[in-house]
């Protein structure tokens, strides 16, 4: 078992990764904060800031989460992008599973934990800066307008939901993780221009899925009527067997994607 995963060796791999890519990691935080500030500046400047509630952050939060996550995951397995670095990476004394898990851990799990904190710090540090800026601008213009009141961000709106319809929240987070996993798989499969190629494949899959759903719908119009005999709290009443099968299929697909990424790394030749 220690041959596949050893926590000490994984720690060494983390330290090695940070040592080699430290500038990327160090710069990622301030650059992302600046990008977020720019977005917030445009948002606050274009709305009636007085009405800006904490709930209004939700779309920015999720769009930022997806864009940043896709960017980060498209950089996965960067060492495999050229022949010489691939050679060094594959001969590094750690198991293929540890090397795979490092990317999964940093770019999906740890990112999922750190992103809310990053967003919290980014938004709540910008509000006083923005308000000071507006105050100075108004003073300069000599206008006696009241300052906009902007709500601070809190974690309430983006917390994992456990009440009724929790399944919808689960599906949103699941979909995001699934997207990141596909981008990671694309990164190890395609090498150069991996993000574009991954999106082309995704579009292809979506077209196929659409026609497949249309076909199924056409063949069995009353399939929606098939309802599970069990009802869980949080599962909407109109959930059909097809919906549940689709969810199970997605979970299996996610596991297949992780396995494929790992196998691609394990079987890599150079």
């Amino acid at each position: 078992m220690k041959e596949v995963f050893d926590i000490n060796r994984f720690g060494k791999l983390l330290r090695y990764d940070f040592s080699v890519n430290r500038w990327e990691y160090i710069l990622l935080f301030p650059i992302s904060i600046l990008a977020l500030w720019l977005v917030l500046f445009m948002v606050y400047g274009n709305i009636n800031a007085g009405d800006f509630q904490a709930s209004s952050y939700t779309p920015i939060y999720f769009i930022g989460y997806i864009i940043m996550g896709i960017f980060l995951n498209s950089k996965s397995f960067g060492a495999l992008k050229n022949r010489t670095s691939t050679l060094s990476y594959l001969t590094l004394p750690a198991s293929a599973f540890e090397k795979f898990f490092l990317h999964w851990f940093l770019r999906i799990a740890l990112f999922g934990i750190l992103y809310p904190l990053f967003f919290y710090v980014g938004v709540n540090s910008f509000i006083p800066i923005f308000e000071t800026g507006v105050k100075l601008y108004l003073d300069y213009k000599g206008t006696t307008a009241s300052l906009p009141e902007i709500d601070y961000f809190n974690f309430y709106m983006v917390r994992p939901y456990t009440g009724e319809f929790f399944i919808i929240h689960f599906l949103i987070y699941f979909g995001i993780i699934f997207t990141f996993t596909l981008v990671q798989l694309g990164s190890i499969s395609f090498g150069k221009w991996n993000l574009i190629k991954t999106f082309l494949v995704l579009i292809g899959i979506q077209i196929l899925a659409y026609y497949y759903a249309t076909l199924v719908g056409g063949l069995k119009g009353g399939l929606e009527e098939l309802r599970p005999t069990f009802f869980l709290d949080g599962v909407p009443d109109n959930t059909t067997v097809i919906d549940i099968c689709l969810m199970a299929f997605m979970v299996i697909s996610l596991l297949i994607c992780w396995t494929s990424t790992y196998m691609k790394l394990r079987e890599r030749e150079v």
Binding site: E3, R9, R15, Y16, V20, R83, T84, S88, T91, P93
Partner: protein
């Protein structure tokens, strides 16, 4: 003890043809092997098969008791490959990089590494981006010699080194090897390694054409220089002021130092052939 063992190994980059077919090879502990051959003979591919970077298509390969393509961490910490072309992080200093990489090698000797850097005149604080090709190579050689790995594979190690560094490389390798360490040096610059190796393997068109101890070669052949050409020589090459030649060593004659380049050319031209016990030519 056998460190590398290839049994009927076949490998090719595509399905239409094999680069190696039914190759057999055994390297024992403590050997310093010179893997020689022309460009494209398959030397680097053989090293990559041994390191587990390529997967054999047929046969068996065992390196230090491991199937290399499994790339087990316990295997990888015992084997060190210095390829001809390599990638080092430009923005990282030598010392910092060595610290992060040395953690993976349990027998890494910091003192030895420091002393080797000094001998190679390398500054540990210098970033790789500011190092020349030769300095990067010297760093890798110093690091590899300090890891205490059981098998060291060097692919064209003297390429990019200046003349004093080539000589220093030979001295450093000879001085820093433990008896249980095995080295395979792949090169076509045979002059650079002829005083270092104790065994020679010649690869040509994917086959091992010669696999002999250096002592066996010097016991059988005499290498010399003469101003006069002699028809009895096995092989000769014209040089400034005369001829470098190879002749059968006569009984009672003292062995000479092997001129590996001359020997290589003689073998490549079919003038010398040993009965190889380890290789079965492709059918």
């Amino acid at each position: 003890m056998s460190v590398i063992q290839l049994k009927d190994v076949s490998y090719g980059y595509n399905k239409t043809g094999y680069l190696f077919q039914n190759m057999n090879l055994e390297v024992v502990e403590g050997n310093i092997v010179g893997l020689l051959g022309k460009n494209g003979a398959g030397k680097s591919s053989l090293l990559r098969l041994i390191t587990g970077l390529l997967k054999i298509q047929q046969g068996d390969i065992t390196v230090l008791g491991h199937p290399p393509f499994d790339r087990s961490p316990y295997f990888l910490q015992k084997v060190m490959l210095i390829p001809e072309e390599y990638n080092l992080p430009d923005k990282t200093g030598m010392g910092r990089y060595a610290r992060s990489l040395s953690m993976f090698y349990p027998n890494f000797e910091k003192e030895r590494f420091r002393s080797l850097l000094q001998n190679f005149d390398l500054d540990p604080s210098k970033k790789f981006g500011k190092c020349s090709y030769g300095q990067r190579k010297k760093f890798l050689i110093a690091f590899a010699l300090s890891t205490g790995c059981r098998l060291l594979l060097l692919d064209e190690p003297t390429n990019g080194l200046d003349i004093p560094s080539k000589s220093l490389f030979r001295k450093m390798v000879a001085a820093n090897l433990n008896p249980d360490q095995t080295v395979v040096i792949s090169t076509h610059q045979v002059k650079d390694v002829e005083n270092l190796i104790d065994r020679v393997i010649l690869v040509d068109q994917g086959h091992i054409v010669i696999d002999q101890d250096m002592l066996a070669i010097s016991d059988r052949y005499a290498f010399g220089f003469s101003t006069q050409q002699n028809e009895a020589w096995i092989y000769a090459e014209k040089a400034q002021g005369g001829y470098h030649f190879i002749n059968e060593l006569s009984p009672g004659e003292n062995p000479t130092q092997v001129n590996l380049e001359l020997f290589f050319n003689a073998v490549a031209q079919g003038k010398i052939s040993f009965q190889s016990t380890q290789n079965q030519p492709a059918s």
